[in-house]
Symmetry: C2
Subunit: 376 residues, 2 copies
DNA sequence: GCTACTTCCTAATACGTATTAACGGCCTCA
DNA sequence: TGAGGCCGTTAATACGTATTAGGAAGTAGC
């Protein structure tokens, strides 16, 4: 019966009228401590009372319009967002960003990449991200032109992961793949391995390049020359079959494999299949270590030797960096590198002694060589 | 060298100046289709070009202050958000909301509940949610006063899960716990079970109440009177020890247990421990079924009989509902219930024949009362 | 009784957008 | 040539807040 009351929100003006003062006074009283002191006590009380009676709550939009800040931080992912089989990959990042964002008193704006592949940040010439005060970005397949354009506009952004841009400097928080990989090589060398196959991703992204750098550096540190034929790009992790492994251990004298995990679960699936039929056993026949975390989407039955990224911490750091970037008139870009942690696992072991005709250092145990192909 | 450019965000006025038109024209061009048609094509192009050059993006605050739409949907969780051990619980919701939101051409605003326990939606008299056009809400431990206040202000919200409010009607998308539980009871009865222990959560939330209703309804449908002593509240899932199970199977003649899973992994951990020492074996000694999904955070070694919530679908539906709510001047609240799916699993089996001295009716088997305490 | 100062409040303004009423110019038709 | 109509654009305004400059009383000092 009653016409829809269409309850308009109470504003400061409503309070002002009710308390018989001006809107400015209401604002002074309500916006807290310092300025509020200049108001006479009776007036203060009258305002507070009126506000309470009207159930006042401030309008965020107006507040942030006035203040210039939206108090929103963006999160943009250069992938179709949060696909199921990558949830373990993205979730920690999301968690870290989310957590730190809220700790800092901001809210989080999730931008979606539909996955059309085209320009998406700038759609129709308009920058969607600008809706937020700043933005954390993420993802493997970056569209660099867009990234560069953001930097050029000097919109505050921080990338999770190392990314290089031509002619523009980007803030990022990255894992130290170089050192982690190099250390992994050192560990294998310590166990007596000399011929280590490195299976890298085909795409030439920074994380992949860094791992390769680490591989080379690790070998160099051990005084082992790099055999370029042992650096292979693996298009599809499923190609990592028992035959493949046998080929390298047999023909090429490889005793250990370093492999860059895919973001989906194909690699671990392939590895499980490889060792399932018993033809190859890790680490008995060959040591294997992952250069990063496998997604644990399928229950992880095997504790692979690997190193692990401090994802949550990286994400938190990224948000902190971003907030630093906001405050002064756009502070200068910063790059932060955080160390990975080594996960011992059970997929590497001492190298089988294979070439009795070598001289050995005391640290590495050895047994007389067994014929590689016939050892079974 | 150059003085800090202090890149102010480009506004419509900037565009207007550059294109030699008025701010109003810019607004007409940029705010899209219908009104944009009234503008001459050359002007339109000039404006769009200027906008692109300046990297314009609309200021949400201003937009929403003006009363227009932000094209943002909010997601608010009444929990410290996305805790690690509940990721499998929340992730599907998040995914579904995220996906549908973007499909509808909105962006997603993630609001965080710090977990201080106090009022958080209205913090400092400010309703944070209002920056979005509407909001999907989620979580077990709801602060009802805040929820009611949102409805009262008639801000468009949809809850995922059934929630009842005094004197206010709330839109929600809920799983049909009543039917699912009732069906589970029916299944156990079909297998010959008559004394079914129901372990409910202590807190008296709607999902718990619905399960209890389902339990009673299921028994009623089978013509089995409810033994109130078989409805127990389990404060800590860890209490579900072998001794506990033995107590009920022994003393009280229980042959099956229905248990409401905790949102963390404590229940499945407890169950694993319980059957680990071999004293109790499911379903040989006792059938057990979960009234919902256990979080599969720890690799799930056991395929529990249970029913499962269509989380992603629920989330999608919630977003659709919300969008419907936005369009007419706040359409009327809607409640949607979606069915759960039965997961057979391997933790229930036929009831052991325990009291041979009974007469049986074909429809409802019954045993003469065995002394509950002494049956062992 | 005039100035100087204090105390408490308010008018005015800006923030960036969407919308509406109105306006100038041009065309058409009589 | 003047009236009427249409088209493209703009001036003006509102949204709700925070802030600043300044005003109206009142008090104190000479």
């Amino acid at each position: 019966m009653t016409p829809p009351p269409r309850q308009r929100r109470a504003t400061q003006l409503d309070i002002a009228r009710r308390a018989g003062v001006s809107q400015a006074t209401v604002s002074l009283v309500l916006s807290g401590g310092a300025a509020s002191a200049q108001i006479a006590e009776p007036t203060r009380q009258a305002v507070l009372e009126a506000a309470a009676e009207l159930g006042y709550s401030a309008n965020v939009a107006a507040k942030s319009l006035r203040g210039g800040r939206t108090h929103l931080l963006g999160l943009y992912t250069f992938e179709p967002v949060f696909p199921t089989d990558q949830r373990d990959f993205y979730y920690p990042f999301l968690m870290g960003v989310e957590e730190e964002t809220s700790r800092q008193g901001y809210d989080l704006l999730l931008f979606t990449s539909i996955g059309s592949g085209a320009r998406e940040i700038y759609t129709g010439g308009v920058n969607r991200l600008k809706l937020a005060d700043g933005c954390v970005l993420l993802g493997r397949n970056v569209r660099r032109e867009e990234l560069a354009e953001l930097v050029r506009e000097d919109f505050p952004i921080v990338f999770i992961g190392r990314r290089e841009l031509d002619g523009a400097e980007l803030s990022y928080v990255a894992a130290d793949y170089v050192t982690a990989t190099s250390d992994m090589v050192a560990e294998l060398v310590r166990l007596g391995h000399r011929r280590i196959l490195y299976l890298r991703a085909v795409e030439d992204t920074e994380p992949t390049r860094d791992r390769e750098t680490g591989y080379r550096r690790g070998l160099a540190a051990a005084g082992i020359p790099v055999d370029e034929s042992l650096i292979r790009a693996l298009a599809d992790p499923a190609d990592l079959t028992a035959e493949y492994v046998e080929h390298w251990t047999g023909t090429a004298g490889v005793t250990a494999i370093l492999v860059e995990p895919s973001e989906d679960n194909r690699l671990t699936t392939a590895l499980a299949a490889t060792s399932a039929d018993g033809r190859v056993s890790f680490p008995a026949d060959c040591s294997i270590a992952l250069l990063g975390d496998p997604p644990s989407w399928t229950p992880e039955l095997r504790n692979w030797t690997r190193f692990s990224l401090p994802r949550v911490e990286m994400a938190r750091t990224a948000v902190q960096l971003l907030i630093d970037l906001l405050d002064p008139p756009h502070g200068t870009p910063q790059q932060v590198t955080v160390p990975c942690s080594f996960v011992p696992g059970d997929s590497i072991g001492p190298a089988p002694d294979r070439a009795p005709s070598t001289d050995r250092t005391p640290s590495a145990d050895r047994t007389p060589s067994t014929d590689r192909r016939g050892s079974r």
